[in-house]
């Protein structure tokens, strides 16, 4: 079983603190290792995006990167929060059904138990379900980099490739306005365990809709921001959006609706 093997298998390091992680990540070829569900597949396949990886820096021991909390008008989600945690959180179900539904639909149970928010946003796949929901919500990611202790980047810019993330940056968490009126709809070959072929997340703030789609481009993208939805992306997306909108709950008590 060596075919497709990464030519130079990386060394593993367990970070014991954020400072320790930053120190390890200062090395050439160092890469954050979270749930590993994207990284280990990519390493086995010899994917180009991991070709330079020589050191895996495991951040799973860093409790500061965990937890889901209400913060002011929004919600904060640690980068190590797993899909399983999102899918079963009563808070997320209440204030961000789009994210809860996306998490519940993604992958098989064990993948949900290991795969993290940070990994879903940072790995270069076209149909990340958590990334799509977070994009629809208008989220912002927080990073620490080897040079800077805190840097915020809008997820829209991150996914569009407009933000340069310095090597060795660690995403610590994500902040988003609450989205009690929101829904997620997905089409996949087999819903249970494969990645979505196409999916949409829809968030409504009053009369305004934000629609994000997975599977249409290299990364999830914002399809519409405003009251109308463009039809140019084809009937399948239109149908999905309409179904997702049909399932929206009325926005209540968000202070934004």
């Amino acid at each position: 079983m060596t075919e497709g093997r990464h030519a130079q298998p990386p060394t593993y390091h367990r970070a014991v603190s954020l400072a320790d992680a930053r120190r390890h990540l200062g090395r050439r070829g160092a890469c954050v290792y979270a749930g590993g569900t994207d990284l280990l597949v990519a390493l086995r396949a010899g994917a180009p995006w991991v070709a330079g990886v020589r050191h895996l820096v495991d951040i799973k021991g860093l409790d500061a990167l965990r937890g889901i909390a209400r913060v002011g008008d929004g919600i904060r989600i640690g980068s190590l929060v797993t899909g399983a945690e999102l899918a079963t959180s009563a808070l997320v179900r209440r204030v961000a059904p789009v994210l809860c539904e996306a998490a519940a639909l993604a992958a098989a149970p064990w993948v949900r138990a290991r795969g993290t928010v940070g990994g879903n946003l940072m790995s270069p796949h076209p149909a990340g379900d958590l990334a799509t929901a977070l994009l629809a919500m208008g989220s912002t990611a927080e990073f620490v980099t080897p040079a800077v202790l805190r840097r915020s980047i809008a997820i829209q810019a991150l996914l569009a490739g407009h933000a340069r993330i310095p090597p060795g940056a660690v995403m610590t968490g994500v902040r988003a306005p609450v989205a009690p009126s929101s829904a997620y709809q997905r089409v996949g070959r087999r819903l249970a365990f494969t990645r979505a072929v196409i999916a949409v997340g829809v968030v409504r703030h009053g009369a305004q809709l934000r629609v994000a789609a997975a599977g249409l481009g290299a990364r999830p993208m914002l399809l519409a921001e405003g009251a109308t939805v463009p039809g140019e992306d084809g009937a399948l997306v239109d149908g999905l959006v309409r179904r997702a909108i049909g399932r929206l709950r009325p926005a209540r008590g968000t202070g934004r609706a």
């Binding site: 079983m1 093997r5 990464h6 130079q8 298998p9 990386p10 060394t11 593993y12 367990r14 290792y33 590993g36 569900t37 280990l40 597949v41 390493l43 086995r44 396949a45 020589r54 050191h55 895996l56 495991d58 799973k60 992958a107 098989a108 149970p109 064990w110 993948v111 138990a113 290991r114 249970a192 365990f193 494969t194």
Partner: protein, 154 residues
């Protein structure tokens, strides 16, 4: 060359072992290297569930975990004869004809053994969603799980 990984100490089926993982070695590779060949590798990329083992009592595909990250963990494989829930599931699979070629069976039994008792057929299906069987059509597997759950603790 990159530096080697540190040694890990594990409990494998109740026995304490110290392994020096090769760089990038996954748990399935290490288990099979150490003679524990009951766990089967199928896709090796997390999609089929045939390599499922228990890591700290949680079903986990052994192809998508590095040995290096498991220092201190408790690993349970299909070879564990002391685990009652696995034993019960094995005999229920046999009496319900829930296996044919057997490729999926070790992973399926491990995953099934941790489904909370009283689960509905839908809940059993959801819990086994990551375990693919090419042969049985699943009906006999669902029956076996229900049967095992109905049996008194042996």
């Amino acid at each position: 060359m990159t530096a080697p990984n540190p040694t890990v100490t594990l409990q494998v089926n109740g026995t304490r072992v110290e392994w020096q993982p090769r760089n990038g070695a996954t748990l399935i590779e290490a288990l099979r290297d150490h003679g524990l060949t009951g766990t089967k590798a199928g896709c090796s990329v997390g999609e089929c569930g045939s390599c499922t083992v228990l890591v700290d009592d949680r079903p986990t595909p052994a192809c998508l975990v590095l040995v290096a990250e498991l220092d201190g963990a408790r690993i349970t494989t299909i070879e564990d004869v002391a685990d009652r829930r696995i034993a019960r599931m094995k005999s229920a699979f046999i009496s319900n004809g829930a296996l044919q070629c057997g490729a999926c069976t070790p992973g399926m039994i491990i995953a099934a053994s941790r489904i909370p008792s009283g689960a509905s057929p839908e809940e059993i299906r959801a819990a086994l969603a990551g375990n693919i069987c090419r042969c049985t059509g699943y009906a006999s597997i669902i029956r076996a799980v229900q049967d095992a759950q109905a049996r008194p603790d042996a």
